[in-house]
């Protein structure tokens, strides 16, 4: 690795993933429909909840969709991110990985490039959720800049989740094994966080888990931005944690990659 070629290496790995993404129309259509279904269906199903004043107090808002929107955003980026490692398993199987490794590229460009591509793809989905929510009457308390900050948080979070996925992907040889591990991780991670239900409504043991769940760290500042506005004491800790989480995953995925592959 000399000079700045590592940036170019990340660029080309990422470019390939993005080009593949645009070439797969069904994938794009699904990535549009999926958040719509979650937001419209879930939001409407649960909207009766806010008619109950006790529940409304726990949610902190009088409209469940407002509460739900940041949660759905993170959920979508979680689902997108955990599949970031799938392309690595495939690359390994068709020999493309060896082709990349026989080229003079920085080894870390492979995981980081793939993580970046996965994160970029999530931006698109989060924007669709934001637009749909606005159509459904949601107004983000912190305005357009708040929405941009929410976008930054989801992107960093997706980047980090893709790192976890890649770190696992280097150790398995088949898609089936990777999918099994991903499924095992995703759902519990989702339901032990504050993404869909408020922590206040959880039993004590679940509350303890939810507080430590990285998902909650990402959701808390986003929910503050969406429902309360620029409440810095709720935004800063989550932002810092998500940023450090993303950074940590760069190192972890690189280490895993060097150990198992390069």
């Amino acid at each position: 690795m000399s000079g700045w070629t590592w940036i170019s290496d990340i660029y080309y790995v990422c470019w390939r993933e993005m080009k593949r993404y645009w070439g797969q129309k069904p994938r794009i259509i699904m990535s549009i429909i999926q958040p719509l279904v979650w937001l419209v269906l879930m939001g409407n199903m649960m909207s009766g909840l806010t008619n109950n004043p006790f529940a409304a107090r726990m949610l902190g808002v009088d409209n469940y969709i407002v509460f739900m929107t940041p949660g759905i955003m993170i959920m979508i980026t979680l689902f997108g991110g955990v599949f970031g490692g799938v392309s690595l398993v495939w690359d390994r199987r068709i020999g493309y990985l060896n082709k990349m490794l026989s080229a003079p590229i920085w080894r870390g460009a492979i995981p980081v490039g793939k993580m970046t591509a996965t994160a970029l793809q999530s931006i698109f989905q989060v924007l669709i959720i934001a637009l749909t929510a606005m159509v459904l009457g949601v107004r983000f308390a912190s305005g357009i800049w708040g929405l941009l900050l929410m976008l930054l948080i989801t992107t960093l979070f997706c980047f980090a989740m893709a790192g976890i996925s890649l770190s696992i992907a280097v150790t398995v040889k088949s898609h089936e094994a990777l999918f099994a591990i991903i499924n095992f991780l995703t759902m519990p991670l989702m339901f032990t966080s504050n993404a869909i239900f408020p922590v206040a409504a959880m039993p004590a043991w679940l509350k303890a888990i939810a507080i430590w769940n990285p998902l909650s760290y990402a959701v808390t500042p986003m929910r503050a931005l969406a429902t309360e506005g620029w409440v810095w004491e709720k935004i800063i800790p989550g932002l810092v944690v998500v940023f450090l989480f993303a950074l940590l995953m760069v190192f972890v995925s690189n280490r895993q990659f060097k150990r198992y592959i390069a």
């Binding site: 660029y11 080009k19 070439g23 199987r93 020999g95 082709k99 490794l101 026989s102 080229a103």
Partner: protein
């Protein structure tokens, strides 16, 4: 002439304790086509992967274009083009995009990338389909695209791992033409592995026969052929007992015209100086032993015989892993397009 590849006592033992390559040494001269010939699992691919910096050797030393594969991997990578047996092209991209990415991986200047891609698409006769997705390509087109990708940065050495595996005869001949063109017009050094004898015979200046991780012979194909002596008489016995067969082999071996005899199952391979004259002689000594012969064939030596002479068995039942099986299935599916 300088040696482009120098390999000295190279050994690779995998974590499971399997030694894939055992103290292998050889040199490849500049502008030469050097072939690695051997059965599946002989260590061909492992050797290529060590030379292309994909696998670290357990011991020994290897250098490509003067750079050590362990200490200076990035310099080595710049000097080599690697075309794996797996058809490593991205099906979800166009042919041109595949080359564009590859050029980027070798840090070619942006201005040059386009011209270089165009040049290789023309050379490999892919320019008409360059903007189609690779998933619509035939197996031969994918292979050509893969080779084009390996040539983008004008490497000193091109590594071709089983370049014609699974391709039909016409496509194989076409790939051979490209390989010959690269040697004659570009003067490129080429290291290839194959388990097709005719391929090694048609292309290689020198070949190394490798079996179970050990090099059994290195020489020009013609010299290897002459090394196993003259003609080959293959005698198949019909329903002979073990003892009778052994007696027959002893009798054949005692003939002055016979160089060597190798029994195998119910047949034996006899190397003789002049086959036409030797066959009646062989029949004469076998007749009194009451061993019945079901067929006799006479062959002038081919590289197949050289190969079998050095590697011995004809059929292999090697143990493969589930991943290997899966991988070869994927390769075959992709080759057939």
């Amino acid at each position: 002439m300088a040696s482009v590849i120098e390999v000295d006592n190279l050994t690779k033992t995998y974590a499971g304790g399997v030694t894939a390559v055992k103290e292998v040494s050889f040199k490849v001269e500049e502008g030469e086509i050097f072939g690695f010939l051997g059965p599946n699992g002989a260590g061909k691919s492992t050797t290529i992967m060590m030379l292309t910096t994909l696998v670290k050797p357990t011991s020994g030393r290897a250098s490509v274009a003067g750079f050590d594969v362990v200490r200076e991997p990035n310099q080595v990578r710049l000097c080599l083009g690697y075309v794996s047996q797996e058809l490593a092209v991205d099906d979800n991209l166009t042919g041109r995009d595949n080359l564009f990415i590859q050029a980027g991986f070798y840090h070619l200047p942006r201005k040059e990338i386009e011209a270089r891609c165009e040049e290789l698409l023309k050379l490999m006769e892919l320019h008409e389909r360059a903007d189609d997705l690779v998933e619509t390509y035939s197996g031969g087109m994918r292979k050509r695209l893969d080779i084009a990708a390996g040539l983008l940065h004008r490497p000193k050495v091109l590594f071709l791992d089983e370049p014609t595996l699974g391709l039909d005869i016409q496509t194989r001949r076409q790939i051979w033409q490209y390989i010959n063109y690269l040697r004659e017009e570009v003067g490129m050094t080429i290291f290839l592995t194959t388990h097709y004898m005719d391929e090694a015979d048609a292309l290689c200046d020198r070949i190394a026969i490798i079996d179970r991780g050990v090099i059994k012979a290195i020489d020009a194909p013609a010299k290897l052929k002459s090394r196993i002596g003259g003609d080959i008489v293959n005698i198949r016995f019909a329903g002979a007992g073990r003892e009778k067969m052994a007696a027959a082999v002893r009798a054949i071996n005692s003939l002055p015209v016979v160089d060597s005899v190798k029994p195998r199952n119910d047949e034996c391979i006899v190397v003789v100086k002049n086959g036409d004259a030797a066959i009646p002689e062989i029949f004469r000594v076998i007749q009194p032993l009451e061993v019945w012969i079901s067929s006799v064939t006479l062959k002038r030596p081919s590289l197949d015989d050289v190969y079998l002479h050095f590697t011995g068995r004809e059929l292999r039942n090697e143990f493969g892993s589930k991943e290997d099986a899966m991988r070869s299935r994927v390769i075959m599916r992709r080759v057939r397009g």
